[in-house]
Symmetry: C2
Subunit: 403 residues, 2 copies
């Protein structure tokens, strides 16, 4: 039987300028532009195989991490599939020899190589992998920015995972969302020295989902509109310039300020939304003190923290400073899970900026496991087409590994 | 020898609309108006005796809680004493029979009946008591609002402690601060049912002082100016109306929103300022859930939390709901110190709003002492002149009790 498939991987991205608030919830049009760093797929990725065949039984099917998920009528996944089919139809209309894949059922299997317990949003890499795999399967001529329009409708920040490097999601102005898409500010190779340390922070309490949280902020915060109109736009310009100029101090300053601004409008929501807990605050204190000491000794900033809709910290730093950062976090926040140390930073000599004041950390340090694990990664490339040997589906279009 | 003295007590006040930011640090002129509830002196008070005599040795002297404090040249206390002496001089100029007290040394002893460990700002009640005691000693004709101009220069929020009931500190417009003063919105007897429960929350880490914190916010927050210009002014009008109308639901909604707005601009500061900790957040969650359940069952809001520059919660509620509130806090936050229960609320039957979801509190509840003590009080009256038998000074102008 004629059967086609494409396997890809797509990266996680972590925003420096935060997306918080939709102006159109159906189309996922944001209230402000945002900007993120794409993290390396060597460490964190969603892998997706999409396959289609005239012989498959009617109806699309989707498996996430080996478990079948319903593709609900009018749901986000269906919206993405319909849009991709429409583009495939255009291919078929232009080339009568092209197989009529747009009419055939799809089989999609996706797998994240990081546990849900790591508290990383898997929807961004997952949706980007889904859209990219089908674009490869369908041999679509659309650019990554055009594909990002579809990924955006699956999960807002997924649109930024269609590029490597440093990526802006331009909010756009149009009501139909045709200009609300991702563009690359700089690719990975422009500034490969940007590394990231994810500190997975345990939290007893389940937080507010970002989907519901952001709309509560839109509805009730008295500060959000000011953030949207007057705070974020100049930051987008400034951080893009800082990336172009490889100016880490400005990049770090803006990243921390915007994380704090985002959590401030969460707190200004009614009822207030809290994502940071005492451990998150403690990590912030350590990074702020490292930066204070570095500045005092005449150097630039050495690290930037940023927090999404949860207590986990992501710390951006230059490769040269990562040994010091990792060793510092290790000392004050002993983890419950082993650190694989992919860059071998634990063995490297390092020194904290002179004058670092340990008193910012609470007496006796934190109990083991307050930070459960560390993940060290770096800025990475965009979605990758993988060889068919990496396929997650068997010839019948069923996942090779089922849960 | 001719010796005069006056003993007074002055109350603590806790703001519903928060003061955060000075437009003039020397004169203590705020960037926005604020509004507070004066708490009963039956429970919390500063008591101050001021005395003067031609026979005292040269130089003013001041004791706080039995320990002598230096009155530093050009410091805040000296500014207040100089202004009060100036008004006394006007009295003496008009009445040649009046003793020339303005030229005599002062002896001042002040005592707070609440421990510093309670984490309550003692500067407001302390400065109000100092100013009021000297105004009594000097037999000044000035009104409480006029006296508040002087107390303000000692410690900003002290100006609000010169009245009982519900008190606005109008920010004023003048550069010399002559219109930045306290006015009474309603007296205690207008709405005596307003009760307050102070939950003293332990914090391992010393927080940022409000004096330095607020100026860091002024210097670095991108949201503060919006709060000052567009958020606080309508809230001042609305909460004054709610107090006049005894509309607890509106009063509570604005109080919570403004506490959250204040902590949001603290978080938006660089470096961020955190006063709320995980226990503070947990208290917020419980109150929000009580209110949610109350609204869902058709009632109004039952409680309002507010937090100053520290982790302690102050919960405002109507007298009728206080048994339920205290019993709820008691259940989820067992204290390390006995609760004196001055209103006998523990013995009263009470029921939480139907549908209250205990799941908002973390599994197993909080460890004993996370909230170290509770203080139950209510809206109270303004500064009181006390009989001379309550004097803190002996005939030589030295405190009867020294540390």
């Amino acid at each position: 039987m004629a059967r086609y498939e494409a396997t890809v991987s797509a990266p996680v991205n972590i925003a420096c300028i935060k997306y918080w608030g939709k102006r159109n919830t159906a189309l996922i049009l944001p209230t402000n532009s945002s900007l993120s760093v794409t993290l390396s797929q060597d460490h964190l990725r969603s892998t997706t195989t999409s396959s289609t065949s005239q012989e498959y039984e009617q109806g699309d099917r989707l498996w996430l991490n080996g478990r079948e998920e319903e593709i609900s009528k009018g749901g986000r996944t269906e919206v993405c599939l319909a849009a991709l089919r429409q583009w495939r139809r255009e291919v078929e209309d232009k080339d009568s020899a092209a197989p009529k894949m747009s009419e055939w059922p799809l089989r999609i299997a996706s797998y994240n190589n990081f546990p849900t317990a790591a508290g990383l949003a898997s929807s961004a890499s997952g949706l980007a992998a889904l859209v990219y795999s089908i674009s490869q399967l369908y041999q679509l001529p659309q650019t990554p920015s055009q594909l990002s329009l579809i990924a955006r409708q699956g999960s807002g920040s997924a649109c930024r995972s269609l590029f490597g490097g440093f990526v802006a999601w331009e909010m756009g102005e149009r009501d139909d969302g045709a200009d609300s898409l991702a563009v690359q500010v700089a690719d990975r190779d422009h500034w490969p020295e940007i590394h990231a340390l994810i500190c997975v922070v345990s939290d007893a309490k389940k937080g507010t989902s970002s989907t519901s949280g952001m709309q509560k902020t839109v509805a009730t915060s008295t500060l959000l509109q000011h953030r949207i109109k007057h705070v974020v736009p100049p930051r987008m310009t400034e951080i893009s310039r800082a990336i172009t100029a490889k100016d880490f101090t400005t990049f770090a300053r803006l990243t921390m300020a915007d994380s704090n601004s985002f959590h401030a409008v969460c707190l200004d929501t009614s009822p207030p939304i809290f994502y940071l807990n005492d451990v998150s605050r403690a990590i912030i204190s350590v990074i702020e003190e490292l930066n204070r000491a570095a500045l005092a000794s005449g150097a630039g900033l050495v690290a930037a923290y940023t927090f999404d809709a949860g207590p986990n910290a992501v710390i951006y730093a230059l490769e040269k400073d990562m040994p010091m950062i990792v060793q510092t976090i290790n000392e004050f926040f002993p983890q419950s899970l082993d650190f694989p140390d992919p860059f071998g930073v634990l063995a490297q000599p390092s020194a904290r900026p002179e004058g670092f004041n340990k008193a910012v950390v609470r007496e006796g340090g934190w109990e083991k496991g307050a930070v459960s694990r560390l993940i060290h990664t770096a800025v990475g490339d965009g979605p990758r087409r993988l060889p068919d040997s990496e396929s997650l589906l068997d010839v019948k279009g069923v996942p090779k590994t089922l849960v």
